[in-house]
Symmetry: none
């Protein structure tokens, strides 16, 4: 092991306490991107990131305003080939986001979502795992290298504030700043691990198409005694439309939904079957009484390689304590689909619209709002970045990393592929039980410290001849 | 026409001004039963009613406390058979309530809800139609008879203060005072007229069974990317359960739901077809794009004589602005059924439970909370009370009264049937556009004065041999 590597790893190990404190400061900023009341917190979080990057000696640190939440950019391009015959130092674009999901329902949190609290081996706070912890891991890994001999690679940072609301401004930002962002590949640590002892690289991500469906009936709320049986209750009608979106086999019924779905090869199915994610795993992770899904596919296939449709929210009529005998004037559902290669969000919006045109009865009106979407992605598992990361993970965990198709969506991966011709190394150090997007989100600290070391290996691997 | 009848009617006509003043005094008391800040007003209203009854010479006038708002009771049992061969004088239990709905939203009232104001032919105030006006009509009719020859029937009065909050204390009060309340039949003027020129007797009321259905899935909210396709989403599952509660013909599918439903006779259907409530009427009243309901029945039949099932509220997951990609841990629906003779709430609770047992899949858990219920009621259209009222209405309006089955519920009618074996004559002089439970509640005064006369006829009809 090189002296620099050893020194940087040692530095990271001795600075665990400071790393944790730094993360706690970041987590105390309630940067909920979807909630307009948190607008000042969003600015605070962007400023905080920018100031960290300045402290690391990054240059051109700038906060770019967008239509909604700003993008933080920084770069350091001082790396040069170190020895004759070595290739020129690569440039890595590090992607991250400083925004978090809403914290509600608040009453289910054991400690305040924005009051980071260590319990056992974990740090609890909204954003601890998704993904402020990952951003801070990258910051601390770079710090360890900077303070121990300097960076052997060029870095660019793109830290956005809209990931949790579908990155509405990011695509335009990327398209408008192609030269600024030009790099050899991207590092995207917004994915997680299969388990504590399973270092993971994600080589495919599902896409997303998110909708709000509103059903309208009578002109105003009606008395359910006087008018029950006379009008189509919008809440009942909405339930009927939602129920019709799946068939008895758990397949989505939107017309044409599966037309562009890339079939799983026998080889890929065999590889997925090796992942430590069997029915028992999913039962434990979810606490559901039994699993559910499209007939003919295993849970890991259904979550990673098959498209799905879920209701994310329902609202109609009287929802307080007690009873009110009302026929509500309207009902609403938030509905999202997860997409796999080669589906795309625009197609799916059209399919949902056609389904509604075919299925909705004339005694109600409906409105479909297309909220946001992102394309699915699938990437080469043998590029230089992925190889450097694979080796880094193996150095820290002592096992070969696992490749997986991830059920979640990271639309920026597809956008960078399309707009910048940039492949991403998608990884991260969150665990499946981190309660991401849920109350009591946590980060497993021993795994996180390993993650910082893995990033140190990764950056140094990129510069070494054998990287 | 008998001298007494003529004198009493004349008395009422000459005392219109005093009747209006008396009603205005009653309406000035803001007896809002649901609002704890109006507790003193509730007591004032009960005292006011008791004092009116004393002034009429009623006996045993008493204010019975209950867990919440008191019940006013009074009686006069001095009537005797007037001529040899006549049957003994009947005893009528007059039901009413002195409480009113809340007045909000206040800014939509043209004059203060508790500052009774005459505009045009109507008196505007909260409770004018529902039902202080109806109570005062009964008081003034009895006064006209008392002051002109005396009552030929025995009277009992039961005026409660909790109708607008579902009469939580009334059933126990009735059960505890069976002897006190024993009568030949009840007069319940808490229903209304179909229209100004349509004197109406409500001979059937739908019952109610109200539930909260909760569906539980994963142990906590899940990320819809990571777990979409692996667990049964409780919001989707709830929608599927709700959708399955109706078939394609708009019929309710709960097992056995229609078993006890009393079929409509051809005669009753013909009579309902005469009511001025066609499809156009319901389209105008509801503002719905089209009507909906059980195949094979007209809207007025569906709302009055057929049982229905409606979702009154829906709640699951994320319902705020924007989007959240969550699989909710649970989903909830408020669901109520309107029942017709001879269904009953307990049966229907069992049917819904069986439906859920048969239909819910094993990948979710469900919980059914039985909120409250009330039996439907139907009364003999040929009993002495109904005949006396029919004749009374015809005397005043000059047309045969309309019988209708009301879609709403007046649980006390069923309670009196069950606990006291007492049939009710259900009528009233409110109109469909009285804005009951809404801002600018009103009472159409010419119709109300006719109502007082109709009550005079009614009480005298009961005593006459031809009544």
């Amino acid at each position: 092991m090189s002296d620099q590597r050893q020194a940087a790893l040692e530095y990271a190990r001795q600075n665990k306490e400071q790393s944790l404190k730094l993360l706690e400061t970041f987590l105390s900023i309630p940067s909920v991107s979807t909630d307009p009341s948190h607008l000042p917190d969003m600015q605070d979080a962007a400023n905080w990131v920018a100031s960290q990057l300045r402290d690391l000696g990054m240059q051109k640190v700038e906060i770019y305003p967008t239509a909604r939440h700003p993008v933080v950019y920084a770069e350091w391009l001082g790396a040069h080939p170190q020895t004759a015959g070595a290739r020129s130092a690569p440039t890595v674009l590090i992607y991250g986001h400083y925004d978090v999901q809403p914290a509600d329902p608040l009453d289910l949190w054991q400690s305040g979502p924005f009051e980071p609290t260590v319990r056992g081996e974990s740090l609890y706070a909204r954003g601890a795992s998704d993904m402020k912890g990952q951003v801070v891991a990258a910051l601390k890994a770079v710090e360890a290298i900077v303070r121990n001999g300097g960076l052997p690679v060029n870095l660019k940072w793109l830290i956005e504030g809209e990931e949790e609301i579908g990155s509405p401004s990011l695509e335009a930002f990327i398209a408008d700043h192609k030269e600024l962002l030009a790099s050899d590949f991207a590092l995207n640590p917004d994915s997680g691990m299969i388990g504590q002892n399973y270092p993971t690289i994600t080589n495919s991500l599902r896409g997303l198409a998110y909708f709000e469906l509103r059903v309208y009936g009578p002109a105003s709320d009606l008395h359910s005694g006087i008018y029950g049986g006379v009008v189509h209750n919008p809440a009942n009608a909405l339930a009927e439309l939602i129920a019709g979106m799946h068939d008895a086999e758990g397949r989505v019924t939107l017309p044409g939904f599966y037309d562009k779905v890339r079939p799983l090869s026998a080889e890929e199915r065999a590889e997925m079957a090796r992942l430590p994610m069997d029915e028992k795993h999913y039962l434990e992770q979810t606490g559901a009484p039994a699993l559910y899904g499209e007939a003919g596919y295993s849970p890991v296939e259904r979550s990673g390689a098959r498209p799905t449709l879920d209701v994310n929210g329902l609202l109609a009529g009287f929802t307080g304590e007690g009873s009110k005998t009302v026929i509500p004037a309207w009902a609403m559902a938030k509905i999202s689909t997860r997409l796999v290669p080669d589906q795309n969000p625009a197609d799916v919006a059209g399919q949902l619209r056609r389904y509604l045109e075919q299925s909705a009865s004339k005694d109600i009106r409906w409105e479909l709002i297309e909220m946001h979407g992102g394309a699915p992605s699938i990437s080469d598992r043998n590029n230089a970045g992925v190889r450097a990361m694979g080796k880094a993970l193996e150095s820290v965990w002592g096992v070969q990393p696992y490749f997986r198709r991830e059920g979640g969506s990271i639309p920026v991966v597809g956008q960078m592929q399309r707009l910048l011709a940039l492949e991403s190394v998608v990884t991260g150090f969150g665990l499946p039980d981190d309660n991401v997007h849920a109350p009591n989100e946590k980060l497993h600290l021993p795994t996180w410290y390993r993650g910082i070391e893995a990033f140190i290996h990764f950056f140094l691997n990129l510069a070494s001849k054998t990287g």
